[in-house]
């Protein structure tokens, strides 16, 4: 329908054009059509998104009074919400620092893991389709309400804790032989990078979480790997490069734009997750009101905007640092 209408439009404009002697150039017409395509977003951004953002910033400077008859009033209180969040709230600063610290530690783990998995899933092997289907399952299923259910799921840990042979001592022998603690002790006794060991152990302990959160990244990496021409690998093989060399000289540079994309996505995803420390603290503010808090919604808005500014800075820093090392293959030369 729309296509036909458009077709008619172009036809009539073509017919009418010679009389007026004014034909918009193809580029101009294409530019107009481009605007038409993105029009829904532009309208939405101006009419819906911008007011929401402006409102949110405005609320952070205001005290919101919800009237009993419906409706609400705002009362301008300047930086009170901000100063409350930073100076008076006992836990906000600490939560902010630890929360951001946790997330920054998670990000490399997620990116490395998803890259690793994407490379494995890109190889030809038995059951590849099945493995792919299983690994992308959490992307689709473990979101929203399922996350909430999982967060308060004590059944899983209950069924988990003594799986194996119960020897009556309360803990099973099978699980005790090799535990994360032993591996940790082993490596720390070897005196190699205590922090690194702790980091790796942390990752392994949270493997479920990390697998769950790296689905989209895996998809993006997989797409990136698929777009590398097999001819390059062939040429490498003929020149006698080992798998290790091929990875660092070919796969890694070619996939580096994807690493940037994934880093940005992971940063956004990790920081905006509902169950991360800071986000849950901010949403918890609204329920627990203390006496000298100016206004729960205003303080929450103020905290969100401060948090969000920090996220922007981190995002810019991450994107800036990674884009220094990104390699772009020029195809059009």
């Amino acid at each position: 329908m729309t296509g036909e209408a458009n077709l008619q439009n172009t036809r009539s404009s073509k017919n009418a054009a010679p009389k007026k002697r004014k034909i918009a150039s193809l580029n101009k017409r294409k530019a107009r059509a481009g605007w038409l395509f993105v029009l829904p977003f532009v309208i939405g951004f101006v009419c819906v998104y911008l007011p929401i953002i402006v409102q949110s910033v405005w609320y952070s400077f205001n005290k919101i009074i919800i009237l009993t008859g419906g409706g609400f009033e705002t009362e301008f209180i300047g930086f009170d919400n901000y100063s409350y969040a930073l100076l008076e709230d006992a836990n906000f600063n600490e939560t902010l620092v630890t929360g951001i610290g946790e997330i920054i530690f998670d990000i490399p783990a997620i990116i490395l893991f998803s890259l690793f998995m994407a490379i494995l899933l890109n190889q030809k092997m038995v059951g590849r389709a099945a493995f792919r289907a299983i690994f992308f399952l959490p992307v689709v299923l473990s979101t929203g309400i399922m996350e909430t259910i999982e967060a308060q799921n004590i059944l899983g840990s209950y069924l988990d804790e003594s799986a194996g042979i119960d020897d009556g001592s309360g803990s099973s022998a099978a699980t005790e032989i090799v535990s994360a603690m032993d591996v940790q002790n082993l490596f720390s006794n070897m005196k190699i990078g205590q922090d690194l060991v702790e980091y790796v152990v942390e990752i392994i302990n949270n493997i479920y979480d990390i697998v769950n959160r790296s689905g989209v990244q895996m998809l993006i990496f997989l797409a990136g790997l698929q777009s590398i021409s097999p001819a390059i690998y062939e040429a490498c093989k003929i020149d006698g490069a080992t798998g290790w060399e091929t990875f660092w000289k070919i796969t890694f540079p070619m996939i580096s734009p994807m690493i940037l994309v994934n880093a940005v996505y992971t940063v956004i995803d990790a920081f905006t997750r509902e169950n991360n420390t800071v986000m849950s603290y901010i949403s918890g503010i609204k329920t627990g009101t203390s006496a000298n808090m100016p206004d729960a919604d205003g303080v929450a808005a103020a905290m969100s905007w401060m948090y969000f500014l920090i996220v922007m800075l981190i995002l810019a820093a991450v994107a800036g640092i990674i884009s220094l090392f990104v390699f772009y293959q020029r195809r059009d030369d």
């Binding site: 458009n6 077709l7 532009v42 309400i145 399922m146 059944l155 479920y208 734009p257």
Partner: protein, 366 residues
């Protein structure tokens, strides 16, 4: 000399008109197998493949284990949770939890509502996002880069931080002050999608000079048709990369054949991007299906049931005994299973597009 030559040369016999059979002098089977299997490369290969398989199996186990425990727990009777000998396999096999959820939590009703909502938002989001993405990918106009930056911005600012403003915006909905000029009667059509009575909407409009869109599908529709919905930035980004991979010559030939911009899009571009569209649709549908943020924000009424809101303990299963916590956890998990069961079925049929769509996308950052 002559005989030797005859021996080493492959024997060629004509089998039929178009077929020939070549008999090579082959080394004995034993030697061949030895050469093939007993060397360091083969050993390396086998060890690597075995390791890879075991590793992937392990990760697959980690992914699937929570689902196993959920399913196992859902068939257990309350007695099983105090019995230490019961682990993954229930002793008193029962469908009680499923039955209670089905009948007492209004599963069917919630299912219908959620299906309608998810289908609507997913279709709208897929279409709108592909339109926007196509415009960004294929048309070079002033402000193209800026709009793409704004798309990324909408992705960065989480809707969760804007929770209160979004709610207020749709609770007192007004487009740039236009609606406050209009009277109530015009908006009777709104009640079609409304979960509450039409009169409510009109009364609010008359009294507050704005529309209360909460408890209707309109906030979701508005967010969807403007490409501002949940993770729509990601969809636009993915689709944009996909569309930039489509050669321009396709559109040029369509243009020469007299096809307009939109006709080209709907008749040429959309059909070849179906796997990618299905990928986006699958994401949009599933994420909307399990979403609890927007449903909690916009659907505050208790009589309008949606799947993410049914999670709870049915009254007939409420008990006071030692294993209560575990039992309740199992019930909540069962709610989860029943929520995602339709998605699992959908996923089984659609997952091949998920990889296929992405694979063909040639998704690369410029």
């Amino acid at each position: 000399m002559d005989a030797q030559k005859q021996n080493s040369a492959p024997k060629v016999t004509k089998e039929s008109k178009n077929k020939i059979k070549v008999d090579f002098e082959r080394s004995p089977l034993k030697d061949r197998l030895k050469a093939k299997f007993i060397n360091i490369y083969f050993l390396q290969n086998v060890i690597f493949k075995l390791f890879r398989f075991v590793f992937l199996l392990g990760i697959a186990y980690i992914v699937l284990y929570p689902f196993f425990t959920k399913v196992a727990g859902s068939f257990m009777a309350p007695e099983d949770f105090v019995d230490v000998t019961v682990r993954l396999i229930p002793k008193h096999f029962t469908f009680d939890i499923y039955k209670a959820i089905w009948s007492e939590l209004d599963y069917l009703d919630a299912f219908k509502n959620t299906l309608l909502l998810s289908l609507m938002t997913a279709i709208l989001q897929t279409l709108v996002c592909s339109l926007i993405a196509y415009g960004l990918a294929k048309y070079k106009f002033k402000g193209n880069k800026l709009i793409f930056l704004l798309v990324v911005l909408t992705m960065i600012v989480p809707h969760k931080t804007l929770r209160f403003s979004i709610f207020m915006h749709f609770r007192y909905f007004d487009v740039l002050g236009i609606l406050s000029f209009l009277s109530g009667g015009v908006f009777e059509g709104f009640s079609l999608f409304s979960a509450n009575a039409a009169s409510d909407v009109i009364r609010t409009l008359a009294t507050e000079h704005s529309l209360n869109l909460t408890n209707t599908f309109f906030p979701m529709i508005i967010l969807s048709i403007t490409g501002l919905g949940f993770k729509n930035g990601l969809y636009i980004f993915m689709l944009r990369q996909f569309f930039s991979g489509i050669p321009d010559s396709l559109e040029e030939s369509a243009y020469i054949d007299g096809s307009g911009n939109f006709r080209t899009f709907f008749q040429i571009i959309l059909p070849i991007s179906i796997p990618m569209m299905i990928t986006v649709f699958l994401f949009a549908f599933c994420w909307q299906w399990t979403d609890s943020f927007y449903t909690n924000l916009f659907f505050t009424r208790t009589d309008f049931n949606l799947l993410p809101k049914i999670v709870g303990i049915p009254t007939s299963l409420q008990t006071e005994y030692a294993g209560q916590n575990l039992y309740y956890a199992a019930i909540r998990n069962t709610c989860g299973i029943m929520i995602i069961l339709p998605l699992v079925i959908l996923y089984v049929f659609m997952q091949r597009f998920l990889v296929e769509g992405i694979e063909r996308s040639g998704l690369t950052a410029e």
